[in-house]
């Protein structure tokens, strides 16, 4: 694990993210069952987060965690695991620490944060933030260009 936090090459990652996200949106627009407004919102947000994680790649733990979560969710949906069963699986997973401090909060906010050592948590957080910033900028850009 490298200790230095290099800001992700802004232009490259933004472009990669933009391409993936727009492709995902195009697929969504063709999907059936998108009449529900909440469903559309959820699908759009998921597409954005997965597209960014995919653009980042497996080099960072947080992006791996996002991609794993989506794979798991898709698998569960395929095998029609009921919602109740999924909820039980989540709550019975043992948690690492039961602190109420900022570190604990941070671990809850950064994908995969619960399994990281403190140092990794800090460097992953920094990278995660720069990617979130890029994601927001690109999404806002796409939105403005799409509005008449």
């Amino acid at each position: 694990m490298t200790m230095n936090i290099l800001p992700p090459n802004s232009s490259a990652i933004k472009t990669r993210f933009a391409v993936k996200f727009i492709q995902a949106m195009k697929r969504l627009s063709k999907r059936r069952g998108m009449g529900d407004r909440y469903k559309r919102y959820r699908a759009t947000r998921a597409a954005a987060c997965v597209s960014m994680a995919s653009a980042v790649g497996p080099e960072w733990a947080w992006s791996r965690a996002v991609l794993r979560k989506i794979k798991r969710r898709r698998l569960l949906r395929q095998f029609r695991v009921s919602r109740k069963r999924r909820l039980i699986e989540r709550t019975t997973n043992p948690r690492q620490n039961l602190g109420f401090g900022q570190e604990e909060d941070l671990r809850g906010l950064v994908p995969g944060g619960k399994g990281m050592d403190y140092c990794s948590l800090l460097s992953e957080t920094a990278h995660y933030i720069t990617c979130l910033q890029a994601q927001v900028q690109v999404m806002a850009d796409i939105l403005h260009r799409s509005s008449p």
């Binding site: 694990m1 949106m25 627009s29 919102y41 759009t44 906010l109 140092c119 800090l122 957080t125 920094a126």
Partner: protein, 91 residues
Amino acid sequence: MSSRRSRSRHSGSSRITDDQINDLVSKLQQLLPEMHSRRSDKKSATKVLQETCNYIRSLHREVDDLSERLSELLENADTTQADLIRSLIMQ
């Protein structure tokens, strides 16, 4: 800050020092949006983590809001993909 040393684990060959942690924390501080104080004021690690959490939450909210507005595009899919990509790349 000595509590940090007892909490950090020695991973493999590299020993994690307080200096490295302080370095990472100050790098996080630099990412925070300047609000009340100048960014060069050294903040406590607790404060930096707290503000980092708040900042991440606000970024998540922005993503939520933008997702909601973008999802309306799915209703009428006449925006062509190629045009959007082209306009984004030629800046």
